[in-house]
Amino acid sequence: MRLSPSRRKPHPDSFAIALLRAVLACTVFVAMAQTDLLFAQTDTESGWFNADRTQALVLGIVLTGAILLYVVLAASGRPLFIRKIAGLETVEEAVGRATEMGKPILYVPGLNDMDEVQTIASMNLLGHLATIIAGYDSRLHVPVRKSLVMSVARETVQQSYLSAGRPDAYQEDDIHYVSDAQFAYAAAVDGIIVRERPAACFYLGGFYAESLILAETGNSIGAIQIAGTARPPQLPFFVAACDYTLIGEELFAASAYLSKEPRMLGSLKGQDAGKGIAIVFILAGSALATLESVTGNETVREVSQIVLWLFR
């Protein structure tokens, strides 16, 4: 896999800055809690802190703490494993195939705007993909529904071509706005698919009902199709009509997988810790609830209430 030198290892400075920011963020939180105490005394009405969200704060600190911890560990050089994500290995093959056939590659970044985290994840993936494509000299076509996404996609792709040493290959007009209307966008992308006959189609981001319209049309021209979305309702259609589908969280993991960048892998490990926490609490909560229902024991009930409180 081709990687730009700057991606291969993290910049020590930027990492120190990130850590500094984390400390700063914690300080803000603590300061906030302090003001809460201060104001709670002077203000008889209520404190500034929303007490209903204590649990979210506690779990938020635990989860973000776990993620940060692994990011720090990974950055300090601890090797991290990442499991195979079906579909991502074929990316390079798909790009190669497109080049051989002299056909373009279609990238659809979903319908959402930049206010959705999955669009940001999609832009990251587009960056990695563009780096690969730049090395192969095939055309990348990115029709976009939101003009903000267009701006970001252009920046990202241009940067990738630049770092791959092919700034000349970057074509601004290949990343273009279509229409904000969902089905006008779908109609136009369908048109692009049947007329340009891309060898590979990527659908990565937030998708709605148009998912199957695009994927079935792509299927009918025999393109290799790789999809991924964090919008659960559309997953079944991608699973049915595409060759590979990144399911939910896999979309967020894909960028770490492709870049193998230590801090990204560390963050992924932190996410796994989050799932571990979820599993442990589900098991504990269910066991306690079972005990409570079978024995009716008062102590069990109290303990289970505490666990339930943590999750509201």
């Binding site: 700057s6 930027s14 800055i17 990130a18 920011r21 700063l24 963020a25 803000v28 906030m32 500034w48 969200r53 938020g60 993620i67 990011v71 705007d113 206010d115 985290v117 940001i120 994840a121 832009m123 990251n124 960056g127 939101k146 003009s147 267009m150 701006s151 252009r154 920046e155 990202t156 241009q158 940067q159 007009d173 706005y177 229409s179 904000d180 969902q182 089905f183 006008a184 779908a186 009902a209 199957l212 319209i213 079935e216 299927n219 964090a230 659960p232 259609f237 699973v239 049915a240 009509a241 939910g248 969280e249 967020f252 801090r263 990204m264 963050s267 992924l268 996410q271 989050g274 799932k275």
Partner: protein, 226 residues
């Protein structure tokens, strides 16, 4: 410097909004509440970029006489006519002060006559694609595909009166195996379990990505390093 300031902005706004979620009053909270509002406003500015891109692409196609260029004329005409009608409320019975989609206005006619049928018909293509996709994909090739297929079949039949009719002969004790009941059970339990696992995973993905963005670890979206 050109990269640092954006990262500082990201950090500040990120921390302020996260804080705003936990705080009941003050500027933090105001910002949290108004972010969507602000975003909607900025998006309108972004329309100018989008419209510019659309015009540029299609004008280029027309001037280069590329394949299918006459259709670009259709796009350009549709775009410009609608834009003028929309922005200046042309043909609005109540003038500039009237409701944008007031009954009888030209924009309303474009919406009801053009936008709406096109949108609904594109959407309805799905009825056909759902059939062709299920015909092709629902084949018992592997164990996973077989599970997918079986679940889909139960729901497909269970959601119509035919399902009830097919299994109505079952004795009462096996009532839970009647197709409508089985379909509802699958929706309520295994489906919920799968959806939840996906949702929890996504939540963690969103949390981690957001955190990386706020802390400046994730910065590809800013593009060029200078």
């Amino acid at each position: 410097m050109r990269r640092k300031i954006p990262l500082i902005i990201t950090f500040i706004i990120g921390v302020v909004l996260v804080t705003g979620y936990f705080v009941t009053r003050g500027p933090f909270n105001t910002l949290y509440e108004s972010f969507s509002d602000y975003f909607a406003i900025i998006t309108v500015f972004a329309f100018i970029l989008g419209g510019g891109s659309l015009l540029k692409i299609h004008l280029k196609r027309v001037s280069n006489r590329s394949t299918d260029w006459p259709y670009s004329v259709v796009t350009l005409a549709g775009f410009l006519v609608t834009l003028v009608i929309g922005l200046f409320k042309v043909g609005n019975p109540d003038g500039m002060g009237g409701e944008i989609l007031a009954a009888g206005s030209w924009l309303r006619f474009l919406f009801d006559g053009v936008y709406n049928p096109l949108s609904a018909t594109m959407f309805s293509l799905l009825a056909f694609f759902v059939a062709s996709a299920s015909y092709r994909a629902f084949r018992a090739r592997t164990k996973e595909a077989t599970i997918l297929l079986s679940a889909a079949m139960v729901i497909l039949l269970g959601r119509t009166p035919v399902g009830a009719w097919l299994t109505a002969w079952m004795p009462e004790i096996l009532g839970f195996l009647e197709l409508p009941n089985l379909a509802n059970w699958i929706m309520a339990w295994p489906n919920t379990a799968g959806q939840r696992a996906i949702m929890i995973g996504i939540a963690l993905g969103v949390i981690a990505t957001s955190l990386r963005i706020i802390l400046g670890i994730e910065r590809n979206y800013l593009g060029r390093r200078e």
